[in-house]
C-alpha cells in the first residue's frame, strides 16, 4: 500500500490570506534560501564540491547548465546558466513585419508552438483592434487544447524518463506517451501540413480551414487518448517508486512562485487558483466553462497531478467545441498579398495567454511603421528555471533531476 498523499486527504487544508489570496498555510511563507550565498562563507558538514550538470545532459531538457555546490550529496547553492540556445528572436522580430514574424515564434517553445503563435498574433490583433471571426476563435481554442495535451504528453514522458528504469522497464512511459502524442500531431498535420512548426495562425485569423472529416478524427483520437490516460496513472500514481521520488520533493511556496513569475501547473500545484483561460478569457474560452484543477501540496507529485487533470480537462474542452464549430470565414482580414500588407498603428500593448507552461505574453511597441519598435516575449519557462536556486537547496542531486523535470521548462523558450 502506498503512502497517502496530502492532496488526497479528505480534510480541506488550512488556508492563509495574503493580499486577498487564499493560499495553503502549510507551504506558504516557507524559509527561502539565499540565491546569492557566497560559497566561501558556507561551512560544509561533509566534503564540499562544485558539480556541473549540463549543458549536455539528457535530463536538462535542452541545454541548461546547472552549477551545483554540494555538501556531501546535498546541494547548498545552485546557479543556472542559460542562453545556450539564444537566437536573438526579439531582435529578429524587431526587423520583421507582422506577417513575417509568426514562423519565428514557433521555434521558441518547440513543444507547444501554437501557443507561441497565438500570443504573438493576439498582440498584433490588439494593436490593430482586429477581432478574428467566431470560426477562427473556436478553431484556435481547439488547437490550443490539442497542443496542451501533446505538450503534457511530452512532459510526462520525459519526466518519467528522468527517473530512469525504476518506473517499470526503462523508457516505457516515455515511449507510450510519444505514441499518443503522435496521434495528436497527426491531427495537427492534417490541418496545417506540419508536424512541429505549424505557422497556422495569422493576424486576424487562421491560415488553414479544417479538412473534411477532421472533426470525427478528433473525437476518435480524444477517446483513445482518454483511455490511455488510465494506463499512465496505473504506471505512475500506483507506482511506489514514482511516489517516493516525487511526494514531498521540491515543495514550492505559492508566494515565491507568484513573485518569481511562475505559471501554469507550477502555480496551481501550490494552491494558487489562477488560469487565464478562465480569469481573462481569450479566443473562445469565454464560451466554455473551464474547470481549473488545483492542488495544495506544492511538490513534484502535485504538479504531476495538476497536469494529468489538465489533460482530462483539455479533452473535455476539445469534445465540447469540436462538434459545434461555427460556420463562416476563418480570417478577418483579406489574405495578404505582400509582407507589408498589415499596417500597424502607433501604440503599446501587452497580451498574455495560458500556455501549457504558464502565462506566455507578448509586449509590443509600434511607432506606426510596418515593423514594430520592440517585441518582448514573456516566457513562462524562464521564470520556472529561475526558481531552481530556491528549490534545489537542500535537495540531493537525484532529486534535482526530478525537480527540474517537474517544472517543465523548455529551453528554447527560456533562451529565445
Amino acid at each position: 500500500m502506498v503512502d497517502a498523499h496530502p492532496s488526497h486527504e479528505p480534510v480541506a487544508p488550512a488556508l492563509v490570506e495574503v493580499s486577498g489570496l487564499s493560499l495553503p498555510a502549510a507551504i506558504t511563507h516557507l524559509p527561502r534560501p539565499d540565491p546569492y550565498l557566497n560559497v566561501e562563507d558556507y561551512e560544509p558538514e561533509a566534503d564540499a564540491m562544485a558539480l556541473n550538470m549540463g549543458p549536455q545532459h539528457p535530463s536538462t531538457h535542452g541545454v541548461l547548465r546547472l552549477k551545483l555546490f554540494l555538501d556531501g550529496e546535498i546541494c547548498f547553492k545552485a546557479v543556472p546558466y542559460v542562453g545556450y540556445l539564444h537566437r536573438g528572436v526579439e531582435k529578429l522580430l524587431e526587423n520583421r513585419t507582422a506577417i513575417q514574424s509568426v514562423p519565428y515564434v514557433d521555434k521558441n517553445d518547440y513543444v507547444s508552438p501554437l501557443t507561441g503563435e497565438l500570443a504573438l498574433v493576439m498582440a498584433y490583433e490588439a494593436l490593430l483592434d482586429v477581432e478574428p471571426p467566431p470560426r477562427a476563435q473556436v478553431l484556435r481554442t481547439i488547437l490550443m487544447e490539442l497542443q496542451r495535451i501533446a505538450s503534457h504528453h511530452l512532459w510526462l514522458g520525459t519526466f518519467c524518463l528522468d527517473m530512469g528504469g525504476a518506473l517499470g522497464g526503462g523508457s516505457s512511459v516515455f515511449l507510450y506517451n510519444f505514441r499518443e502524442r503522435e496521434l495528436i500531431l497527426d491531427l495537427l498535420e492534417a490541418l496545417t501540413g506540419q508536424r512541429m512548426h505549424y505557422n497556422a495562425l495569422m493576424v486576424g485569423g487562421n491560415r488553414h480551414d479544417v479538412p473534411p472529416g477532421w472533426e470525427e478524427k478528433v473525437l476518435a483520437t480524444m477517446d483513445r487518448v482518454e483511455d490511455r490516460l488510465a494506463e499512465y496513472e496505473a504506471m505512475t500514481v500506483d507506482n511506489h517508486i514514482f511516489r517516493s521520488r516525487t511526494v514531498g520533493v521540491g515543495v514550492l511556496d505559492p508566494l515565491l512562485a507568484l513573485e518569481a513569475g511562475a505559471g501554469g501547473a507550477n502555480l496551481r500545484a501550490s494552491g494558487v487558483d489562477h488560469d487565464l483561460r478562465r480569469d481573462a478569457p481569450y479566443a473562445a474560452y469565454g464560451q466554455v466553462d473551464v474547470r481549473i484543477p488545483v492542488e495544495t501540496a506544492g511538490d513534484c507529485y502535485a504538479r504531476f497531478l495538476v497536469r494529468i487533470a489538465e489533460m482530462r480537462e483539455a479533452i473535455r474542452i476539445v469534445r465540447l467545441l469540436v462538434s459545434g464549430i461555427p460556420e463562416g470565414p476563418i480570417g478577418a482580414l483579406k489574405p495578404p498579398r505582400h509582407v507589408n500588407a498589415v499596417k500597424l498603428p502607433p501604440g503599446e500593448v501587452y497580451v498574455g495567454i495560458e500556455s501549457p507552461r504558464g502565462e506566455l505574453g507578448t509586449y509590443l511597441i509600434s511607432d506606426g511603421s510596418p515593423i514594430p519598435v520592440r517585441v518582448k516575449i514573456r516566457p513562462p519557462s524562464l521564470h520556472a528555471v529561475s526558481l531552481l536556486p530556491y528549490l534545489c537547496v537542500g535537495a540531493t542531486v537525484s532529486d534535482i533531476v526530478v525537480i527540474l523535470g517537474s517544472l517543465d521548462p523548455i529551453l528554447g523558450e527560456v533562451d529565445r
Binding site: S19, G20, L21, P35, E259, A260, G261, D273, H274, D279
Partner: protein, 150 residues
Amino acid sequence: MPDDVLALFRTRLGLEEVPPEGPFVPPETLPDIVAALKEMGFLLFLYCAATHWPATENRPEAFTVAYGLRRPGPGSSTARLRVRIPADGSIPTLSGLFAGADWQEREQYDLVGIHFEGHPDLRRLMLPEDWEGHPLRKDYAIDTHHFPWR
C-alpha cells in the same frame, strides 16, 4: 487597468488621465509604487521590457523600461507602468520585491544595456560574459557577422 490601480496612480503621481499602456513613473519612486501594488494583490511578476530610443532631431537618446504585474485569480487584472531614463541613467532594481525581476532585469541589462541599481547579481543572462555590445539597441546592426556588429 482596474479602478484601484488608476486611483493609486492618480494620487501618487498627480495625474489626471492614466494611459492604458501605463503611466510614466519617476525612477526614484518606482520601488515604492511597485511595493504598493504588491500590497494590493499584484503578486505575479509579468515582465520588465526595456526599449532603446536612439537620438533624433527632436529628442536625445533615451530608454524606456516597462513593467507589468498581475493580480491572480478570478477576474484577473494587470497593472502596467513605465519609466523613462536618459542614455546614461540607471533605474532602481525590483529584485528585492519580486524574485522574478532578478532574471528579467539581468536579461534587459544583457540585451539592452540598462543598469539596474542595487541588483545583487547583475551579470549577462543570455550572452557570453565577454560579449561586447547590447544587441537590442537600435544602433546594433544585424547585417554584419563580426565585431563590432555595427
